[in-house]
Structures are given as C-alpha cells and as structure tokens.
C-alpha cells in the first residue's frame, strides 16, 4: 500500500512549482535533442535517453499538478505517478549510460525496482533510497565518462548527476524527524543540477 508523506513546508509549495517548471523545460529540451538524434542515427540508445528525460519531465509535471490542485486524490495519483515515472526514468538513464543491452537484465531491473516501492510500507523511504542509489551510480558512470572523454561538457554532465545524487540524498534525509528542512536544500540542489544540464546542452547545441 502506498502511503504519501510530503515533507515540503506549505510556504515552499509555490516555489517548488517554479522549480518543477524549470526542470520540466530542461528535461524536454534534452529529450527533444536526443529524439532528433535518434531520427538521424536510428540507435535505440538515443530513443531510450529521450524517453528517460521525457519521463523525468513528466514526473515533475505530475508532482506540480498535485501541488497545484490540493486534495487527497490528486495528491495520491500525482505523487504515485511521480514515483513511478522518476524510477523508470532514472533506471532507463542507468541502462543507457551503462550500455546494458541484455533484454533480460533490463527487464529484471524494472521488475525488481517498481513493485518493491509500491508494495513497501513507506513509499518515501523506499523511493528515496532507490533514487539515491541510482543517482549515485549514475554519477559514478558519468565520472568515468568525463575521465574518458576529458571534455568540458562531459564534466558538466557529471557535475549535474553529482548534484542530482546530493539532492536525492538530502530528500532522503528530510524524511527523518527534525530534518525536514533538508527538503528545501535538496530542491535547490536539484534545480541547480537541471540548470547545469541546461548549460551543458546549450554548449553542445552551440558547438
């Protein structure tokens, strides 16, 4: 059974909506660039990457709608979709970034992760433990990529994933009693991560 616990303070809800809108925009831009590349190269990796960022954008949209239209049902559906889309998007990013091509391994990753969260007693802890782990591994993958490529844009992308990991770690910490102010710093760091993504994609498009 999914239980929804929201740790953001009331006054922060409107700011959070603006943060989410910026993240949606950045996710959409990256998704569209990847989709356009997929049309040229026809490699499924680009399609996967496009779907992953579109999924991240959609996850922010559902959370934004849940915050805009308060109510137990919208909160439940909105945050439920937010969890599902975020996990699917981050897992897809992990699969693409690590070039995992074995269909059974991919299926196993999806099948293990999603039900574990939806059938856990605390959506909050299981969701943020999972996203913290995935973003930590993504940051590690992109560190290796930056060291291999040695390009400024690759370093920016690594930095963005590192910030995303730090944000999810703080989201996790905000679930503990007395630490809910971490939710605000986590949201700011997450926004910074998406701004670094935006900077990197603008640099790529202007290269």
């Amino acid at each position: 059974m999914v239980s929804v616990i929201i740790n953001n303070p009331e006054w922060f809800l409107r700011i959070d909506i603006i943060f989410a809108a910026i993240s949606i925009l950045v996710s959409l831009i990256i998704s569209l660039v990847s989709l356009r590349t997929w049309f040229v190269v026809k490699s499924l990796r680009y399609l996967g990457f496009a779907i992953a960022f579109a999924g991240l954008g959609f996850s922010f949209l559902t959370r934004m709608i849940a915050n805009l239209i308060p109510g137990p049902e919208t909160l439940f559906i909105g945050y439920g979709l937010h969890i599902g889309c975020t996990i699917l998007a981050l897992l897809t990013l992990f699969i693409v970034a690590n070039k995992i091509e074995n269909a059974r391994v991919v299926l196993l990753l999806y099948l293990i992760t999603l039900p574990l969260i939806f059938f856990s007693d605390s959506y909050f802890m299981s969701f943020y433990i999972t996203t913290t782990l995935i973003t930590a591994l993504l940051a590690l993958t992109y560190l290796q990529n930056a060291l291999r490529v040695k390009g400024f844009n690759a370093i920016c992308v690594f930095l963005a994933f590192l910030l995303l990991f730090l944000a999810h770690l703080q989201f996790l910490l905000s679930g503990f009693r007395g630490l809910n102010m971490f939710f605000i710093s986590a949201s700011i760091i997450q926004l910074l991560a998406f701004l670094v993504f935006l900077f990197a994609i603008i640099k790529v498009l202007r290269s």
């Binding site: 990256i30 660039v33 990847s34 590349t37 040229v40 190269v41 990796r45 680009y46 990457f49 693409v96 970034a97 993958t141 992109y142 990529n145 490529v149 390009g151 844009n153 690759a154 920016c156 992308v157 990197a200 994609i201 790529v204 498009l205 290269s207």
Partner: protein, 88 residues
Amino acid sequence: MRRNKQDIIFDMLTAVQSKGGFILPTHLLYKSNLSHAKMKDYLDELMTKNVLIYMTDKGKQKIKMTEKGFKFLQSLRKLREFTEAFGI
C-alpha cells in the same frame, strides 16, 4: 576501438575539411584508414547524398565537399559532442 558508420563518415569528412574542402582520393583513403572497397562504398553513399562531389583540378581528379557537406559535418560534430557529453 571499432568505429561505427557515423565515426567513419565523420573521419572522412574531417579529412576533406582539413585539406580545405578538396582532397585527392588516395589521401582520403590514407586518412580515413579504410580499405579501397569500403571507402568506395562510403564515397558512393556520400556522393549520392550530394555531400561530396568529384571535380578535376589541374588534370587531377579530386573529391570536393559541398556546402551541404560542410553543414552535414557541423551537424555530425554536434551529434558527437552530445553523444560524448551525455555518455550515450
């Protein structure tokens, strides 16, 4: 590391660009590190798409990059930058 089709075309076009947009077929063969048969296949495709054309300069046959070719190379450069930066 094994090059894919996109890498090979990028290397070929970069070789032509580095020579100012004109290159002798033998130089292209050497710079693109391909067999004669493979290079001919890629050249045929790039000629069909009007990215490269044959021209004669001082009695020698050369390969020239078209305006479309320069734009295509620029797009390929962006694509590579995106692929490398985002580790795809």
